[in-house]
């Protein structure tokens, strides 16, 4: 023991690091902030450190070149010792980082920590949030598979909608005229040098501001933030009822960080690495690209926006949302801190969380996407075929062969893009069915040119049978008897 002590004394006399670090570690924080609610920030930082460590390990093997990246990922998965584990930890760590950081953002907002004098801390935090999402997107590109390729296509198509500079933006984004070698090296540099550098610098600034301004105290309802009195009251509280950050507050942070890392490792071991998916060959077009979960909500928005609003909302929506996020502490920088007296804040959080999770849920089911194989791979339910005439059976065949099932389901199977055809005869008369098939409309293509008259007759004859036995078929309005009064 005395050897350790003398070595550390020798080091301390020359480096003096202990004298610098000790006051930082042991600075007084409000007793109320040594809470389980305050652990998300440090847990995010722990995940970031883990991402750096595993990312550097992956870079030892990964080849950021369009012709070999895919093979190097397979090599990591199947050949390099523990390569699969590091890829898995990096993937699950990135998911966890986005998730825990979002919790941190919500907690900080609900506890009013963005208010005076911590506006700058919030602004830097929003930059950190955006950088992390940037890491998530660029990381997805480095997993150079079909989803990465077509995901870049989607990004380029959005960029291409910007007025005047669209074409230039697309080419700067892709590093060339197409998605290929120069695109991947660009995204590699962004993912490995530019954004991590920014993140490290911004994390430093964020922590410096937390130390300088003090950790946010537990908000008490009715205790308003006033620019003239807040700092003095905070100092008094810390002086009167403070605890040293280390170990009094830090022990909960340490437990949380440990739990998060262990959960990520467990997920990595159980589920393994994610992808790479299909080979990134643009001539293999039998693919339905999908983003990773953090962008599913955005992906759903693209499908659900009315087409005429799309370009405007795609280009202005995200910048506006980000701007609002930045402006939060300037819109409501003083006053009530407690969520118990901030109904608008609480309702906003609930609303945004509900919207994002609902959209992401829809992004998983993708009800708007045609099922490209449904026409040839999904059987026609037997109950719709039993006892039918040859003409009606012919119609059932036409419905399969003309890809109707790609958008219309029968018996719950098939695309959900259009309405299910079960029970269609209770909604549309035969004349209306003919019109709908020939002319389309309401998001359905017109089949007039692509169906022979005999085929139309057969399809309509079949669809007229599609109704429950106890429900009447649809009747033309003219023939419906007037309601007796």
């Amino acid at each position: 023991m005395s050897v350790i002590r003398s070595v550390s004394q020798w080091l301390e006399e020359r480096a003096g690091l202990g004298a610098v670090v000790r006051p930082v570690m042991e600075h007084q924080v409000p007793r109320s902030s040594a809470s389980w609610w305050y652990v998300f920030g440090s847990a995010t930082l722990t995940l970031f450190v883990m991402q750096i460590a595993t990312g550097i390990c992956l870079a030892l093997v990964y080849l950021p070149s369009a012709d070999t990246a895919y093979d190097s990922l397979l090599y990591l998965n199947y050949v390099a010792p523990l390569g699969w584990f590091l890829r898995a930890v990096h993937f699950w760590g990135s998911n966890a980082m986005v998730a825990v950081m979002t919790l941190h953002l919500i907690q900080v907002f609900l506890f009013g920590a963005h208010k005076y004098p911590r506006e700058m801390t919030w602004v830097v935090g929003v930059f950190l949030f955006l950088c992390t999402l940037g890491m998530a997107f660029t990381g997805q590109v480095l997993r150079w598979d079909q989803d990465a390729y077509w995901g870049l296509g989607i990004a380029a198509s959005i960029a291409g909608r910007s007025p005047i500079i669209g074409e230039s933006v697309v080419q700067i984004l892709l590093g060339g005229p197409i998605i290929a070698g120069r695109t991947l090296t660009r995204f590699f540099a962004v993912h490995v040098f530019i954004v991590p550098g920014l993140l490290i610098a911004l994390v430093g600034l964020h922590l410096f501001l937390v130390l300088r301004l003090g950790i946010n105290e537990w908000p008490m309802p009715g205790r308003l933030v006033d620019r003239r009195t807040y700092r003095q009251r905070y100092e008094e509280e810390v002086h009167k009822d403070g605890v040293p950050f280390f170990p009094d507050a830090a022990r909960k942070d340490m437990v949380a960080a440990g739990v998060v890392i262990i959960v990520v490792v467990l997920l990595a071991v159980i589920f393994g690495p994610f992808g790479p998916g299909g080979v990134p060959d643009p001539t293999i077009i039998d693919t339905a690209p999908k983003p990773d979960f953090y962008f599913l909500a955005l992906y759903a928005v693209f499908a659900l926006l009315p087409p005429w609003t799309e370009t405007t909302l795609l280009l202005l929506g995200p910048p506006l949302a980000i701007l609002v996020l930045f402006l939060v502490p300037f819109i409501a920088g003083t006053g009530e801190k407690s969520w118990k007296r901030r109904p608008v804040a609480v309702l906003s959080v609930i609303l945004i969380v509900l919207i994002v999770t609902t959209l992401a849920g829809l992004g998983v089911i993708v009800p708007w996407s045609p099922h490209m194989e449904a026409w040839s791979a999904t059987p026609t339910p037997v109950q719709y075929l039993r006892g039918r005439t040859p003409l009606q059976l012919q119609g059932a065949l036409v419905i399969q062969n003309k890809q109707c099932r790609n958008c219309h389901s029968l018996g719950g199977e098939g695309g959900k893009r259009g309405p299910a055809l079960d029970g269609v005869a209770t909604r549309l008369t035969s004349d209306q069915l003919v019109r709908q098939v020939l002319q389309g409309g309401g998001n359905m293509p017109a089949y007039g040119k692509n169906l022979a008259p005999a085929e139309v007759n057969a399809v309509v004859a079949f669809m007229e049978t599609l109704r429950p036995a106890n429900e009447a078929p649809a009747r033309p309005a003219a023939k419906v008897p007037p309601v007796s009064r």
Partner: protein
């Protein structure tokens, strides 16, 4: 530091001031000399270099009249390390003996690859459900326009198309 306090202070302050300003100026010059090429290098892909070129798709006989066939070519502006990503797919519709339509596979909505269904004579997009008729015009769904079309020529029995860049609403093939 100037050890000699007897020196006229105007002289020394003006010399120090000059050196300080010179230092600022030299660093500003250095920043410009390095900064402009750096920005230019990053923005270089936006330079409107000719990213269109004539490309041979194959003999016209390989595209039967009245049918729409899948075709592919290598991007003429490829670099050696592009790998498979340099390959580009397109749909070739032969209207009659002399008339063709060559469509980019990229949906006009957000660029996903559209698939051709000869039975219903429709192109369908797997992403957000855009649908196009056989002549490439928009049938339904979110696309703001029809499929992107290549300019084409027939030279000595070969079908040539003009292309080279990813089609988007801003810049077509």
């Amino acid at each position: 530091m100037c050890p000699n306090q007897e020196r006229p202070s105007e002289y020394s302050s003006s010399r120090r001031g000059f050196l300080f300003k010179l230092g600022l100026a030299l660093n500003a010059l250095g920043a410009i000399l390095v900064g402009i090429p750096v920005v230019g290098y990053i923005l270089a892909p936006a330079r409107r270099f000719s990213s269109q070129s004539w490309i041979k798709l194959g003999g016209v006989d390989s595209f039967p009249v009245g049918q729409t066939r899948f075709a592919q070519y290598e991007n003429p502006f490829r670099v050696q390390w592009d790998g498979d990503a340099a390959k580009v797919a397109c749909w070739v519709r032969r209207v009659d003996a002399q008339r063709f339509q060559v469509f980019a596979v990229n949906c006009a909505h957000l660029g996903c690859p559209v698939r051709w269904f000869p039975q219903s004579k429709l192109f369908m997009c797997p992403c957000h459900g855009g649908v196009y008729y056989e002549d490439g015009s928009r049938a339904s769904g979110p696309p703001p326009r029809g499929l992107f079309q290549y300019e084409y020529e027939i030279r000595e029995g070969q079908l040539w198309v003009r292309g080279g860049q990813l089609p988007t609403l801003a810049g077509q093939v």
